[in-house]
């Protein structure tokens, strides 16, 4: 079929061009990344250091992501000595001086995770490969956190997880380069169960509706275990598709099941919809087994509370942190956030803010940006003054151990931000578990990776 006639001259010419093209990658044998820059990925060279903030800016958790981004920007300001210093003044470690990190001015780049593992990894990669980010921070959703954590482990940089609540992040998918400040599903169960037993009695029958993905399952497992330990009975557990928006067909069977508590292992829009459906069906006004029907939402966030509006009144749940806490760290953070953005921060914002400061402080104490040094400085680090009280970054699984809040939808909110009230601050001892707890088994940290 070919009717192509090359003259000799053209053949030589094209051949040479193609050859040059093919040989291009081998002609230059310049120094690779690591050798020229000090033994680890993206070692900062000039007077600045770049942090990567990877948060959902589009998709279902976009609002949360934007709040996280604002908090991270605030943290950078405080690190660079601008603003009022926020939690730098209350932080128990005094290594940070407000002159950047190790004297280098802090810059940041942002990426959009779209709440998709693939997109999140692409965004993180672009920040690592193109912008030279030395740490990735933030994100909502456990799937994304686990995916990006794996990437950071391979690339040899530190990952500070944002809002991720699944047991797996520091359980079966834990990594040496990844660290989590946020609490997890096990802690939610352990903190909630005693409060539930006190409030509703020990002979309750629970019905679980669970979002059908990794986080939902670990959340359900934790809640079932914890509530059964205080004497509750689990009537049924039903998985609901993540994309579901109408839960009526799942709520109706609850009424006939003989259950008197409905546990909604849902998050975000799922939770708003399922709770609204449940309230519309009049569950909260019902009497079953001679007791008032109750609804429990194990993981709360401010944005969900806003979304569900009136329906959350009196509904119990747990949180990592709330702006209404009265310790010095919280007050300092809420003050600087409020002055800059005109509203109180969410608990995901607080986690991301704390993670940036914790990373910066660890670098300062280690005296290097090398992820292995930073990891060592974070492992077993005990601190206070960031809003969660006394906290330990456990070395065995890189999980923070701190008090957990049990909250309830406020019956009489006085302002738009006052949707949740704190019922109890569960002490850290009660939510601590062994590193080899069965719900967290199956993974290993591996060795820290400083990159090529």
């Amino acid at each position: 079929m070919s009717k192509l006639h090359f003259t000799r001259r053209r053949l030589i010419g094209t051949g040479a061009m193609a050859g040059a093209g093919l040989a291009m990658p081998t002609i230059f044998t310049g120094a690779s990344w690591a050798q020229s820059q000090g033994g680890f990925t993206n070692a900062p060279t000039g007077g600045t250091v770049t942090l990567g903030f990877n948060v959902p800016q589009t998709g279902p958790y976009a609002d949360e992501g934007k709040d996280e981004l604002l908090a991270q920007q605030l943290a950078v300001e405080h690190l660079n000595g601008q603003g009022d210093g926020g939690c730098l003044n209350t932080f128990s470690s005094k290594a940070l001086k407000g002159n950047g990190i190790l004297g280098k001015k802090v810059q940041f780049v942002t990426g959009d995770t779209q709440t998709k593992s693939d997109a999140a990894r692409a965004a993180a990669k672009s920040m690592i490969e193109k912008d030279g980010a030395v740490m990735i921070n933030g994100g909502s959703s456990s799937g994304v956190a686990v995916a990006v954590q794996g990437l950071c482990q391979e690339a040899g940089i530190i990952f500070m997880a944002g809002l991720t609540h699944s047991n797996d992040t520091t359980g079966k998918d834990k990594k040496a380069n990844g660290f989590r400040h946020f609490f997890n599903a096990y802690m939610s169960g352990a903190a909630l169960a005693p409060v539930l037993a006190n409030t509703y009695g020990k002979d309750r029958r629970a019905y679980h509706l669970t979002a059908d993905y990794t986080w939902g399952w670990t959340q359900q497992e934790s809640m079932v275990k914890a509530t059964e330990a205080v004497g509750w009975e689990t009537v049924n557990t039903v998985l609901t598709p993540l994309a579901a928006t109408d839960f009526s067909s799942y709520i109706a069977p609850v009424l006939n099941s003989g259950a008197d508590v409905l546990v909604l292992n849902h998050y975000g829009g799922n939770m708003v919809n399922s709770l609204t459906n449940a309230v519309q069906f009049g569950l909260l006004d019902k009497q079953v087994n001679g007791k008032d029907f109750a609804i429990v939402v194990p993981l709360y966030s401010e944005l969900m509370a806003n979304g569900a509006g009136e329906n959350i009144k009196g509904v119990l749940g747990s949180m990592n942190w709330n702006w209404q806490l009265q310790d010095e760290g919280t007050k300092a953070f809420v003050k600087s956030f409020g002055e800059k953005y005109g509203r109180p921060p969410s608990n995901s914002a607080q986690t991301c803010y704390a993670q940036v400061l914790l990373y910066a402080d660890a670098v300062e104490r280690a005296g290097t940006f090398n992820p292995c040094g930073v990891g060592e400085a974070l492992e077993g680090f005990e601190f206070d003054g960031l809003g969660n009280g006394k906290t330990l970054y456990r070395a065995d699984d890189h999980q923070c151990f701190k008090d957990v809040l049990v909250v309830r939808g406020n019956q009489n909110p006085t302002n738009p931000y006052d949707t949740l009230e704190i019922v109890e601050v569960t002490p850290v001892e009660q939510v601590t578990y062994a590193p080899d707890h069965p719900m967290f088994a199956g993974g290993e940290l591996g060795q820290c990776n400083p990159g090529a």
């Binding site: 093919l22 589009t58 794996g150 591996g446």
Partner: protein
Amino acid sequence: MFGLEKKDAALLLIVAVVTLCAPILLNPFPAGSEMAQFNAGYPDLMQRFAIYGIFAIGFNILFGLTGYLSFGHAAFLGVGSYSAVWMFKLLSMNIIPGIILSVIVAGLFSLVIGFISLRRSGIYFSILTLAFAQMSYNLAYSVLTPITNGETGLQLSLNDPRVLDAARTTGSLPVTTLFGAEMRSATSVQFGVWEWQFSTGFYVSAVLMLLALYLAIRIFRSPFGIMLRAVKSNQNRMSYTGLNVRPYTLAAFVISGMYAGLAGGLLAAMDPLAGAERMQWTASGEVVIMTILGGAGTLLGPIIGAGFIKYFENIFSKINDNVLHDWFAFLPDGLNDFVVTVIAPFFGDGWNLTMGLMFMAVVIFLPGGLVDGARRIGRLFRRKPAGAKRPDAATKPAE
């Protein structure tokens, strides 16, 4: 050359040269300068250009030639990724077995779906493929979690068997290789003020993309390809002449499914993770947009479309408000804020909006895609009258 006509050979050669020099061409702005944020020449993005190029080339064989609009091609990409990651987990970190398996599995999967879906044409075919893809997505997300690891995505772990190279696994996760050459290794070269990154992963993807393009050209110019075009222009007439078109369309469907599988396998080879959202309908829609944006039925169009979309997704999305404020820092404060507020929705998280506007503009003013635009501009500067051009079935509208 290689059984190609002169014009096609020249096209392939140009694409080859451009692709192989991509690390240089895509970094036109000096490192460290203000404009450096528009550089696209970093390994991850270049790999995506090449891989999604393959995906779109394959899609174009089905859509561009037969006119059958599949809205479920992402399913094959996802299946390819999962197969490749499983190969990395079970057999070896060498990418060859992974990629071969992903092409085979995607081929079989597309055979099944194609066999059922191709009983209908037009919108019914689109809906059927969409339904199958969404089904695969939902299965991967929940029921098939033991195989797909659900929402978290399938990842490597330290205690995978990896039969062929178990002995070499040390404390950290292994990396994908091609006979020892690590996919993620990159050589960075300083050339004056520029900085170029030559990565193994990109060159592997690029070579495969060139092979994929070569194969696509051969298919386009073959009697089989002409048969497919005939299906597009009038399927009824084909049937009346006594031809059974189903085998042809099914073959095209399976071939394009295998292309998608190859792309999926490559994605996993560059970054060993496979997530269910790779199969979501938005991902299927993306490849449709890539192909139409670049020019459906043209050889180069899909690659250009894929590059455009991936560029926007990765570069444009990072232009946040702070960057915008910097750009307009020369304006007085109030005006600066005003300008940034007005244009901010089109940048950063609003990249989808910009993309959408561009897509609309292309569909309305350049029905043949960006390639059509380039051709029109080319015609403006050519001395020969436009009538001399080779007739091209590609720009005919679908039925």
